[in-house]
């Protein structure tokens, strides 16, 4: 067996989900290679070469790979994939965008968002917002897989010494061009990798009220998230969204404030180690998954919590 990981990176360094994908690759028991496709991406390639368990780093450094455009990346992945039994990418918006395009070019039915590996061709994945777990066997010769990062440990970043090989670009398809991006600027940890997450729901009543959660987040070194209801109501941007159609998080501590606990939200956070819920409605379904529940008006409880944390 041989495995190719499609690294998610920002040209200078690896994105954290790449490390979880490496752990998943390690469970497959074959030689692991990693693809760094980017523009001026020597920094990311150097970081990949240090990863323990990686035998080879394949680097495609070309302007057309600078913005992760699926139209340009998928042909490269499809071309390289024929050297491998498995191709893995993180199930982030990066992996979700590019991998199915590569899979279709290879005539492969991708296995999305796997949470466990049972064998070389058998994988477990959540369906119906995590309300059911399906074990599926892939009959394709090459397996294309996206990996749920929170289901696999973060791999170590140092200790390896992989060889590096240059790969030729498959060119610019000219189908798409990058215009710009507005990334949420935050000093706080990233939502999907934070040890503590504090999220607000419709009960927060406004975007301004999220400042209360931000103050607590800063005291705890936590990331701030939200339910789909809070995003739909326009309180916060979509990249805050935790749930079936947003991000999946599994921190050591998840604090849900004013979140009722719709199944779509629970899908994104129920694997957290400790869950705290504060809600004024004692019937709210969030209390069924909470380790610690407090029935209270959040506008009293949250300032109290801030004070108690000192």
């Amino acid at each position: 067996m041989s495995i190719l990981i499609i690294a998610e990176h920002d040209n200078a360094s690896l994105r954290p989900a790449t490390l979880n994908t490496l752990t998943a690759a390690g469970e497959l028991d074959g030689e692991v290679h990693i693809l760094i496709a980017g523009a001026d991406c020597a920094g990311a390639a150097d970081a990949a070469a240090k990863l323990p368990g990686v035998a080879k780093v394949r680097v495609a450094d070309a302007p057309e790979y600078g913005h992760e455009l699926a139209e340009n990346l998928a042909p490269l992945i499809a071309k390289l994939a024929t050297d491998y039994t498995h191709v893995l990418a993180p199930a982030t918006t990066f992996g979700k965008n590019v991998m199915p395009r590569a899979a279709a070019l290879l005539d492969v039915q991708q296995v999305s968002d796997i949470s466990a590996i049972e064998g070389a061709d058998t994988f477990v994945r959540p369906i119906y917002a995590g309300n059911a777990m399906a074990t599926v066997k892939s009959l394709d010769t090459i397996k294309l897989i996206t990996v749920r990062a929170t289901a696999f440990e973060t791999a170590a970043e140092d200790g390896g010494s992989a060889v590096t090989e240059t790969v030729e670009s498959t060119g610019d398809t000219g189908l798409a061009s990058f215009v710009g991006q507005e990334l949420t600027k935050s000093e706080r940890p990233e939502l999907t990798t934070a040890g503590i997450v504090i999220s607000g729901g419709r009960g927060m009543q406004s975007g301004e009220n999220f400042a209360m959660l931000e103050r607590i987040a800063d005291k705890l070194g936590a990331a701030v998230g939200a339910s789909r209801a809070a995003v739909d109501a326009g309180f916060v941007p979509n990249d805050y969204q935790v749930g079936q159609t947003g991000k999946v998080v599994a921190p050591d501590l998840y604090i849900a404030i004013g979140i009722s606990g719709a199944i779509q939200h629970l899908a994104g956070m129920k694997d957290s180690k400790v869950i705290v819920a504060i809600n004024k409605d004692e019937e709210a379904p969030i209390f069924q998954v909470a380790d610690y529940g407090l029935v209270a008006d959040l506008f009293q409880a949250v300032p109290e919590l801030e004070e108690a944390l000192g």
Binding site: F94, P100, A103, V108, L139, A176, S177, L253, V274, L305
Partner: protein
């Protein structure tokens, strides 16, 4: 412009799904079904394009069991012009659906495909990207904004679409050449409810019936489902009376702060 909107019939988002006792799947008998919520957003956007005069013909297509006609009728009641059902009793996987949709897109000569970013049953998030690959078209995935323009992608080429994508770190804007496949995210719009007169009118709109064989597509599954089980339940927690008690538990019992 001719717009194709693929839609899927799924278990209603508000229904608590139950795994079948024999572990072969989830219970769908006597369960309320509805159009996948992301597909509703795609239909809404296409109908708005029609209302704005940018689209002349909006075709709603579904692949699956005969009952998917109801889902197509929902799209027609929202304002789409006509429907296509590719009837199949085989459980269709994303790659097979993408191949069927490619055949329909080519047969109809569409300029744009607007569809949901994922269906809330399989949670695969694949079909739009696969369709774009098979057609050789660009893809705008997880979009929260779109703007058809004449300037063209990278300038000069007539006909393009600029889309804002919801990505993990925030938002990204890309310009795509047309024809293109767009998959929609939840903030693109708020879908309308069909009015009673429009529901009545929709009954008279045509639905073309096709089969995978008609389109020359092999839909043999590539994945074998070995087992479907419920996830392990969380252990029951405790209720606390005050913030002070909560902080004490987190510090001294759970030791997480």
């Amino acid at each position: 412009m001719k717009v194709l909107v693929p839609v899927k019939r799924v278990i209603d988002a508000n229904v608590k799904v139950r795994v079948k006792a024999d572990q072969t799947g989830v219970e769908t008998t006597n369960v309320k079904m509805a159009m996948n919520p992301f597909c509703e957003i795609a239909v809404e956007e296409a109908v708005r394009m029609k209302e704005a005069g940018t689209a002349e013909d909006v075709i709603v297509v579904s692949a699956g069991a005969a009952q998917s006609q109801e889902t197509i009728r929902t799209g027609l009641a929202m304002g789409a012009d006509r429907g296509v059902l590719i009837q199949s009793d085989v459980a269709l996987e994303p790659l097979a659906i993408a191949k069927l949709l490619k055949a329909v897109a080519e047969k109809e000569g569409v300029d744009l495909v607007l569809m949901g970013k994922q269906a809330i049953d399989g949670d695969n998030n694949q079909t739009g990207q696969m369709l774009a690959a098979l057609l050789g078209w660009p893809q705008g995935t997880f979009i929260s904004k779109m703007e058809i323009h004449d300037g063209g992608a990278a300038g000069g080429v007539a006909g393009g679409v600029k889309v804002t994508r919801e990505v993990d770190g925030g938002l990204e804007v890309v310009d795509l050449k047309l024809p293109a496949v767009l998959t929609v995210d939840l903030r693109l719009n708020e879908p309308r409810y069909a009015s009673l007169p429009n529901i009545m009118k929709a009954k008279k709109k045509p639905i073309e019936m096709l089969s995978p064989e008609d389109l020359g597509v092999d839909v043999t599954p590539r994945l074998e489902t070995l087992q479907v089980v419920e996830p392990p339940p969380r252990q029951a927690g405790v209720m606390v009376d005050s913030v002070a008690m909560l902080v004490d538990k987190l510090r001294n019992e759970a030791k997480v702060i």
